[in-house]
């Protein structure tokens, strides 16, 4: 007997088709990780601290400057400071770009390869497809960022010794405290990507080209930074998504002001919620042509 008949017969008694869980997380993860694009992004994130270390090696030690006020001067002082330096380098354009690539490709990439319609007719419910893809992209992005931080710490400690973060114009923190701070700085930096994830999700369901979706996120990021630098806008700048992009630096400096950190989290959550809801609503009602 056709296995399907058993399924249907069973459903006839309950009046309900027990649908199996379509598009499991691991399947989508396998699909994403099979792409070289994603693999290269992860490799770059992991290799970046090594590249920075080699660059510092080639550049030599900094000229002795008793008034070192920036992390670049202090980067070679201790392992913790090196890790903090790497985090400062990568926050901003690099991880925004990676978030744009991962989130912009989710639905638009499937549409451009004509695989979207086949996924939807399995049937994978639209919101479930969007949800699983967002979850996978978030997981890959977070894994990349965490790997970057961990590798930076390891490379730093191996190269420059197990000291903590050297505060410019302040004390040398101990390693345990510094690891906690670096972890919190990484988390804050990730929260600064929430808006990019939301915008990427919205663009990926609206446009049919993954390049346009990723490019849109990067363009908005740059535009937001430009507007943010126009200080005469005053309080209007609070609504710009990248206004709190430097909040992670609070954990790498002393004393630590938690106000920008919580502002950054709130701003990221609000933007992600608004844009994500818009994306979900749009995707639900969209006519799929790809």
């Amino acid at each position: 007997m056709n296995p399907k008949d058993t399924l249907i017969a069973g459903s006839a008694t309950t009046g309900r088709v027990r649908r199996p869980s379509t598009m499991p997380f691991r399947v989508e993860l396998a699909r994403q990780l099979s792409q070289w694009r994603v693999r290269i992004v992860l490799i770059i994130l992991v290799a970046l601290p090594i590249i920075v270390r080699v660059a510092l090696l080639i550049g030599g030690p900094p000229s002795s400057n008793t008034n070192a006020t920036t992390l670049i001067d202090l980067a070679q002082v201790s392992g913790g400071t090196f890790a903090a330096f790497v985090i400062e380098l990568t926050q901003g354009i690099l991880i925004t770009l990676i978030a744009a690539l991962l989130f912009g490709d989710m639905i638009a990439g499937e549409a451009s390869r004509s695989t979207l319609k086949y996924l939807l007719t399995i049937p994978v419910p639209r919101l479930r497809l969007l949800g699983v893809k967002v979850a996978v992209s978030s997981a890959i992005l977070l894994a990349g960022i965490v790997a970057l931080t961990v590798v930076a710490l390891v490379v730093g400690v191996v190269s420059y010794g197990p000291g903590g973060i050297q505060i410019p114009g302040g004390p040398l923190l101990d390693l345990g405290d510094s690891i906690g701070r670096i972890a919190l700085a990484t988390a804050t930096g990730a929260s600064g990507l929430l808006w990019a994830a939301g915008l990427g999700t919205l663009l990926t369901v609206v446009v049919n080209s993954p390049l346009a979706a990723a490019g849109g996120v990067v363009l908005i990021s740059i535009l937001s930074r430009i507007l943010d630098s126009i200080t005469t806008l005053g309080n209007v700048r609070l609504f710009l998504p990248t206004h709190y992009a430097t909040a992670f630096q609070q954990f790498l400096a002393a004393p630590t002001d938690l106000a920008p950190v919580t502002d950054s989290i709130l701003s990221g959550l609000v933007w992600a919620l608004v844009l994500g809801t818009a994306a979900a609503l749009w995707f639900r009602r969209k006519d799929i042509s790809g």
């Binding site: 399907k4 309900r16 088709v17 302040g170 004393p255 919580t262 608004v274």
Partner: protein, 916 residues
Amino acid sequence: MRPARNLARSRLKRFFTGLALVAIVSALALPAEPASAMMTDARSSATTSTAERSFFVPVAESPGSAKTIDLDVTLYTPAITPAPAVLLAHGFGQTKAALVPEAKKLQAAGYVVLAYTARGFGRSGGSIGLDSLDGEVPDARSLITVLANNSAVEKKAGDPLVGVVGGSYGGALALMVGATDPRVDTVVAAITWNNLANALVPPSAGTVVGSSESPLRDFKSGWVSRLFGAGITPTNPCGRFTPQFCALYTSLIAGKAPSAADLALLRNSSPSTVLAGSHAPTLLLQGLQDNLFGLDQADANERQLTKAGAPVQVEWFDGGHDGGGLTGTDSIILSWLADHLKVHKPVPASFSYAVPASATAFGRTITAARYPGLAGSSSERQVSLSGPAATIVNPPGGEPASVIGLPGFDAGSPAGSAITSLIGAANPSAERARFVSAPLTSSTLLAGAATVRLDVAPAVGTTAPTDALLYAQLSVTTGDATRVLPGGVAPIRVTIPPGGATVAVRLPATVWSFTAGDRLALTIRTSDSQFQGALTPAAYRVSLDGPISLPGIAAAAIDSSAGQPSVAVLVGIGVTLLVALILLAIALVLGRRGDRTVPTVDEIAPVAPPSDQGPPLQIRGLTKRFRSGFLAVDDVSFTVERGQVLGLLGENGAGKTTTLRMVAGLIHPDSGTASSFGAVISAGSPVLARLGCFIEGPGFLPHLSGRRNLELYWAATGRPRREALFDEVLTVADLGAAISKPVRGYSQGMRQRLAIAQAMLGMPDLLVLDEPTNGLDPPQITALRGVLRRYAESGRTVIVSSHLLGEVELTCSHVVVMSHGRVVASGPVGEIAGDSSELLFGVTDVATATVTLRDLGVDFADGREPGTLRVTPGSRSVDALVAALVEAGVGITGVQPGRHLEEAFLSLIGAKEPSA
């Protein structure tokens, strides 16, 4: 049609409205940029009947004189009158223009404000008398009379409600007016002095132990010359100062010690002479970053006021002449006035002081139960300093003088500390002796005046007592950075006997928070750029005698709100997370609701066989108009029964693909329904699991192999692998070894076959194929035909859309013909196509052939093309017909089976030209 477009537009409108609402509501949770200590000025712009009037008030030039000078004043009247009045006095070197922001704030808070330019400044007449009891103080009393005569000022039994507020120069004036005029109800004096002699020509901070001589003085040349410079004019090197002050300053700046007359003149300009008669509640605000009027001046004021019985409250804030002036005190002053001018609340005994921010901590404000003075209230912390006894020299002329700070320069800011350390790098090391502590083991809070003992001896042996002039200063080293503690430098001027002496030094009172690991340093110098110094060269041997004592003040309450997140933001985060969770829950619930398929089946029969569930596909009234206005599908209805192979025919643009996309749930119909096995199809309906679709071309991940693509596709269904029937499906694809190669290397035909195979994964009950033969060569088309036939014979259903009519005729059992979005015909193939036994004769002479065929009694009709005839042989054999025609002399050019479906199709869709 109109309604469809309006429906789409209204949906879009609702969508954006909802979006805007969510954005606005969530944006309200974000706080505005943290306001400075100044209160918001929302009220100032709303008043409509406030007034501002500038005029001149004539006052007597000196007591008892008939000559008058004019004072430049501005009177601000609030919206609601009568109101209490505030007399605002400005700082040295300023005019009433500097008071405008403060005056406007007070006006907005509902006070009558009289801001004036003191005599000797701006447009006011007279000479600068440094708040003398014969000049500026009677001026202020006259101005209070002006307020008393103003009807807008609130009066209580004829006594006007007046408060006097001033900073620095204006602060001393406020204190002196408050003490000498009973009409004054409250006084706010900020960063001001008690005894001008002690402030400008400070007595020695160190005294020889065991000696009882009166302290020698040093001149604060740095600050005083700057103040004097604020009064000079291009025409007069003495500026607008009174001749006495000009002479006093000239002698001091030349290096002469102040005479008794000089000190008396300075004392005449000091609150210390009159505070004994003060009764009004007084607020003393003193800045920590103040080398001109330090915390000791406020301390002296407080003692005198308390002794006089006036209620007084002291507050130390992080500001002052060397740290931003009065910024940050607006809210304190406004709340004081609200408590003690508008009403008469008792003055609390508490004392609050600010702790400046350090390298590792934010600034905070600590409140203590009562004001303890400069010696602190809790036990003193002894910190031992170490350092070798050093010999330090005072160069001839006292130059180069060591630079620790500049007057008015905020050394706490990053720029300030960078610049002072830059300048200070040139300080000669021979002029200083440094004593440093070990890294502190625990955090300490210094609040008050630290004390230490030094041993000072002349370096060169002498027989007479020498006049030693030294400067003591504290600094803290955190990690790599060194910071001078606020409060400045203490001048030590003592007469030491030839053998040397122990000097007890009292450093300037200050507040600092030391963290563990900080190192405290005491530096003794022979010169300081802000002091007069000694001209004669000298050398001293300096060493420490004991530890340094750091007083502290027991804290009753600590306000450390800096660096903490605001509650509004935390609440906002909670609210947003809650909203997100709710939306997620809603999405899950909506998803579950879509799971219901056939709600009433179990009511009909406990176990219903699958065949009772409805036809595999039933379309009723399906309509779709695109946004461009093009009506793609217009009221399409047809039904497909089990076991059928349905052909969907139509020209390009007929609406076949759009209909099939609606069947697959990819497009939402404007009206009508498509249902499968009794369940209505919409996006993501579970019944779609029983459909296998191939629509508008293949779609694969190009970097993966064909097999991997199929495996991932099946894995995405979530169903067990054995249900996929991979082997059967791969046989259909017929790709051979290429199945393991990446899809990007496949030809169009290979992709097509693989996509059809993908549609067949799991052997779905309904197979929907849109133009499956695109790109396939004839043997593959034939193979596919066989597959579809067998598929249908196994009890499943197939829908094929095509415009290859011959194929459809061979493959399909039923046909639906669409044109311009409508169904023009539907039914079994034979019915649409006509009798399959028809033949098409190509003849040279149609007329003769017609006659011959009629004689034979067979059915015939004109063919589409000229020279052809359609003949139904019936019982006659074909060769008999041919023979008869030839016999009749008709040439036969061809005999072929009638391509009936094509003709039927073309006639149905009304084409004028033969199909390609």
